[in-house]
Symmetry: C2
Subunit: 455 residues, 2 copies
């Protein structure tokens, strides 16, 4: 990823200069020349006090557009210092789903006050019922419905009369008077249809939908699988309550990717950013490192059981980490492949045994190649063929262990209902480290008299 064009630095510079001078006519001209997505980008890069100044100059609908484009955390920061009546006007103009996310991040008291000050809270209120991570939390309530008995011509007249500014401009949803979803129709089909046919005759009645309380990932999966650009959302009674659009699922995919990458790297707080506050950093990172402390000390305890080995043959202490490090890296490779296969829905249960066998074979080959290179290399370096033999065998053994652990750990997590990405570096390398030490030092004990001959 990455490398998407940055906001033109010249615009940002001119903007900051004009803000500094208090020359708001130029500021507004510059800002208004930009697409809202770029306005948001520029806005986000301004210092907090400059952001406040700018908000005082912009029109309410302009601010709403910018807030729609900022991410949730950025919107909250910008909204925090605004007087509630002003904020209520902005939220009235925002996209309902973004407005609901912002309200959801305010305190209970602020939410009640803001809603009481809003002109049209009815678009947002239904969305507050659903948690952020559900289909209901992602949907918009700003879409158009038709009745099954309208003619296509009267439907087009109706749509023209509404002005038709909705979040879901190219799909129309057909509901009966109980608000039950009967079908869906693309604008193209409506326009191309015989003007005297009824909606009922031309709509597509085989419509894919999700439940409002379903996980947003499942909704994203359905949209991706069927290449949908709009997905209707139903409540428990089967009433159509909202629609998810294709740009929402991009956001879901991006969030899920961050979650996978963070979990694989043992960062437990998905919202953590490099510049997050110190306290948040510690909270999001320390738990895994503490777990690693425990597992590393278990490793130390395993090694301590071979304590006298190092007195007899100090050289063993030089190489014990080689075995552990190789196993850890090989296991991480396995975890990455399994986690990705599961995420893309490519891994069916009946494939698990063949995959495990394949990975054991891969581990054996990797172990033989690396075991030979390290074994022969160290034999010559330390002039000690038995040390090389022990290292080579330990590497082979630990590569086999790494293949099995790296393949099974994410699968076991998946089938016990956990996120397979929790089989992160800390967990999997802890096991390969400890077993790596055990194999190497056990073999060294076994071959000790032979190794000592060459020391």
């Amino acid at each position: 990823m990455s490398k998407f064009e940055q906001t033109d630095p010249a615009v940002l510079h001119a903007l900051e200069e004009s803000l500094e001078k208090g020359d708001y006519s130029i500021v507004l001209e510059l800002i208004r020349s930009l697409h809202p997505a770029d306005q948001a980008k520029v806005f986000y890069e301004l210092k907090p006090e400059k952001q406040e100044e700018l908000l005082q100059e912009l029109e309410i609908p302009e601010i709403a557009d910018i807030f729609d484009e900022l991410d949730d955390q950025q919107t909250l920061t910008a909204a925090r210092n605004l007087p509630l009546p002003f904020l209520a006007d902005i939220i009235d103009d925002m996209d309902p789903d973004e407005a609901a996310d912002l309200l959801g991040d305010l305190s209970g008291q602020e939410v009640r006050k803001t809603i009481s000050l809003m002109e049209e809270p009815e678009e947002v209120l239904p969305l507050l019922r659903y948690p952020d991570e559900t289909a209901g939390g992602r949907m918009t309530t700003d879409f158009l419905v038709l009745g099954p008995d309208d003619t296509t011509d009267s439907a087009i007249q109706y749509l023209r009369s509404t002005g038709w500014e909705t979040d879901i401009p190219y799909y129309l949803f057909v509901v009966n008077n109980k608000k039950e979803l009967l079908g869906v129709m693309g604008l193209r089909e409506l326009v191309c249809a015989d003007p005297y046919k009824t909606i009922n005759e031309i709509m597509n009645a085989q419509v894919v939908s999700v439940q409002a309380m379903q996980d947003q990932e499942e909704a994203a999966g359905v949209m991706k699988h069927y290449d949908l650009s709009a997905l209707p959302v139903l409540n428990k009674q089967g009433h159509l309550v909202g629609v998810i659009s294709h740009d929402d699922i991009l956001d879901v995919l991006v969030d899920e990717t961050t979650e996978d990458i963070y979990r694989l790297a043992s960062v437990s707080d998905t919202a953590l950013e490099p510049e997050s506050k110190l306290f948040l950093q510690l909270k999001g990172r320390l738990p895994w490192l503490l777990l690693n402390t425990v597992t590393a000390l278990i490793g130390s305890w395993v090694i301590s059981n071979f304590g006298d080995l190092f007195v007899k043959v100090a050289v063993l202490a030089f190489f014990q980490s080689v075995v552990a490090a190789q196993g850890g890296n090989a296991a991480s490779q396995n975890v990455a492949m399994i986690v990705r296969s599961l995420a893309l829905g490519k891994l069916q249960p009946k494939k698990i045994l063949p995959i495990l066998l394949r990975q054991i074979a891969v581990g054996a080959f990797l172990g033989v190649v690396i075991g030979l290179i390290v074994g022969v290399g160290v034999s010559f370096w330390q002039s000690n063929p038995y040390l090389g033999l022990v290292l080579g065998l330990a590497l082979l053994g630990n590569m086999l262990v790494a293949s099995i652990v790296g393949t099974l750990a994410p699968l076991i997590l998946e089938f016990s209902g956990q996120d397979p990405a929790l089989a992160s570096s800390v967990l999997v390398t802890a096991i390969t480290d400890i077993i790596g030490f055990l194999i190497f030092l056990s073999l060294a004990s076994l071959f000790l008299p032979l190794i000592q001959q060459y020391v």
Copy 2:
């Protein structure tokens, strides 16, 4: 991610049974009851010989739909054994961009023969000019254009007459007679406009476009940034040659995510899957493990310079890996955060210094907490306060090193034009391992007389 509904196992089972019995009427009935996306899923799960049997029974357009839904590798596998005239008919019916991808995967001779056998190669031929990874390789040529002087009413009549079955159903592109892009129009605007206005008057002339040879990631970035559902693609002469639709950018995002996750886990072949052939597994994984062999042996060499330490105080060998392991995990956390920030375009150059300082502070805090816990714990466990002191100080030092390396390594790669995700576990942990050993054993040498008092 993950957990999207699997294909109904009952359908798959019934299908396999009917195929076994040769009862093709039931097979076809079952298959035809499914959405093409599900047909593709079922097809992919069949054994190769069953796939071949099924292909002989299906109609050409049905096969084309299934091939459109399979991923590139799966399509190639299924297409490989088909007679070229049959394959040419299928490719004629496929989406132009998928057809071009399939042709691009065939040998030069097969491509020439297949194209000569196709009825309508003109939709696909322009796409073969552009590499898979470019905007041109992702676009479709199946879209509709209007002239600027048409009236909206005549435009709607024209669209109705075409039947309007295109890959880009809700956007219309306005070009002059030199094929230069003048503007874009949503179907909604067309339908709502005054019937006597010209296209020129109602189109949006501020249209975002990309060059055909631009990287597909940049195109995806533009679409995501501006929430576009269709992005026009221009050639060097500024002619409109294709359009990228919103479902293509999902595919790009998914591919880029796989690339990031694989690179972070030191898997160099992004197409690798858990069940890929042994040879491919070795090719995709061995290079990084060999690099790790080299760095691990450098670590061994560093330790070997302190060789006599272990003879004097064997207990040091128990704990040297604790320091290295903690540093490696902390650095991986940093790399994950920086890589993700860069991928999401959130990391501006002016933020780098504050981020580095913040991360050094985080490293110091993590180091103090973990250093205290391990230091005090080991002091009591080994009844050796100076061993605890050395361990604690080494952990603090290595956490600081991990913060700096984990933050700077991906940034340096980014600014030298490389993928920041190449700052993978192997590279970054190699550095933190080696420096970790060095700090711990140097401190141990310094405090050796004091540590020995308690052994």
